[in-house]
């Protein structure tokens, strides 16, 4: 692949697209607004094409699990390879079997996995919330105070838990979060400016040493 099609071309396209989005943010020009909405729709199209690459990789990985008898769940490899085209066809043809599989298998599994997070939180809290030093004591003490503010029994035990919890959340919590939002914003802008000016090449899959 030539240098232009691999590096310079994508950077030039990125620059033009970014400039259109910038101009659209600051100036009201109907033609640019239309171009930007077309660009935004195209990102959905590109994502859809990228999904095909992902699907091919999933089939390859599952086939490899089966052929190498990868320890664990290798027996699900062939099941995936058989079910994938069947469900893809059913989904494209809008057959009821697709909805049936989704509502009765995929959705309950997804909900169950998400529900596990509650147990992982409890496990994680037990593992990590230990008083090791003065700082960890402060964190644990404030955690309990905020927790007592939230649970109904906290207010019953002592009415002071609610204002103390609120104070911790609104003064320290909000202050810290706002500071983080500002620095996150700076991080996003830094990546944006580097990308627009062509200095950032990670999005092209190019290793750092090759840039600059």
């Amino acid at each position: 692949m030539s240098e232009f099609s691999r590096v310079k071309g994508p950077i030039a396209v990125g620059f033009v697209c970014a400039m259109l989005v910038f101009i659209n943010y600051f100036v009201k020009v109907p033609a640019i607004s239309t171009s930007v909405s077309i660009l935004r729709n195209n990102t959905i199209l590109i994502s859809a094409f990228a999904m095909i690459l992902g699907a091919v990789n999933l089939i390859q990985v599952n086939y490899r699990y089966y052929t190498t008898k990868r320890s664990g769940l290798w027996m699900f490899g062939p099941l995936y390879i058989v079910l994938f085209p069947v469900l893809a066809y059913a989904g494209l043809m809008r057959l009821p079997v697709y909805t049936y599989f989704y509502n009765n298998i995929a959705l309950p599994i997804s909900v169950a996995i998400s529900a596990f997070i509650g147990f992982f939180i409890a496990q994680g809290m037990y593992r990590t919330l230990r008083v090791k030093n003065y700082e960890s004591f402060l964190i644990i003490a404030s955690t309990f105070l905020v927790m007592l503010r939230k649970v109904p029994i906290g207010g019953v035990i002592w009415s002071g838990f609610v204002p103390i919890g609120n104070w911790l959340l609104m003064v320290f919590g909000v202050g810290g979060v706002r500071a983080l939002i500002i620095v996150f914003g700076f991080g996003v802008i830094s990546i944006g400016i580097r990308t627009v000016l062509g200095y950032e090449r990670t999005q092209l899959g190019i290793l750092d040493e090759e840039g600059d």
Binding site: S110, F120, T128, R194
Partner: protein, 256 residues
Amino acid sequence: MLKEGTLATFFTLIALMVTYIYFVSRVRKGFVPELRPFAAIEALEEQVGRAVEMGRPVHFTTGASAAVTHARFSAVLSGLKILSYLVELCVKKGADIIVSEASATVFPIAQEIVRSAYQRLGILEKFTTETVQYVGGQYKGRIVGNLERYNVATNIYVGSIGATAWMIGEVAARIGATQIAGTPNDSNMVVLIATSDYTLLGDEQYAAGATLSGKPSDLASVLTFDYFKLLTIALMLLVFISTMFGNSWIANILRL
């Protein structure tokens, strides 16, 4: 000409770009800024060495899927910068690496980064379809599955991270894997602090990429944004004090 309420943003953006270009040229001329080392980045080499000694692979993920148009995508990009360093480290030290990617758009980029590193170091035959895996929308189950299936020694989790960090962090702890994690997402940082051995918090994740690559463009961005952070703090104090004394002209200028 400009839309209402965008004047201050416009001039800030221009000032940022000009300052950035100035620092790029300054760094290229030989100015070397002193950067604070990050414990999480310094631990990468040690953790890869640990993985080699244990004969177990290193796992990397950028976490939840992020649309290209979303601000979270920048976190994924900075995660990929760390991946490009990590994969070279793994290849040089002889550790296997497994990358789980939830975003379909980022998946080919991650694949290209890893494949190029393998090719450059002459071990392309070791790059298989399992090296970089697309884990799709239900990424949490697949990532946890990969941690267990490959019995990883270290899990590196830098990018767009959601509440599933609890699940991934706890499974990593259960299988005896160390975890290095980073996110700029304020609501999930606390999870990473609780579950990880090393963390990159807030904009540390963006600066970490710069310390790794050492490229003038990366170093210049750290310099530019450090100065702008100081400027922001100064402006906040100025607005606070002037508003306290009943003068709101600075606040009004910023709203223009």
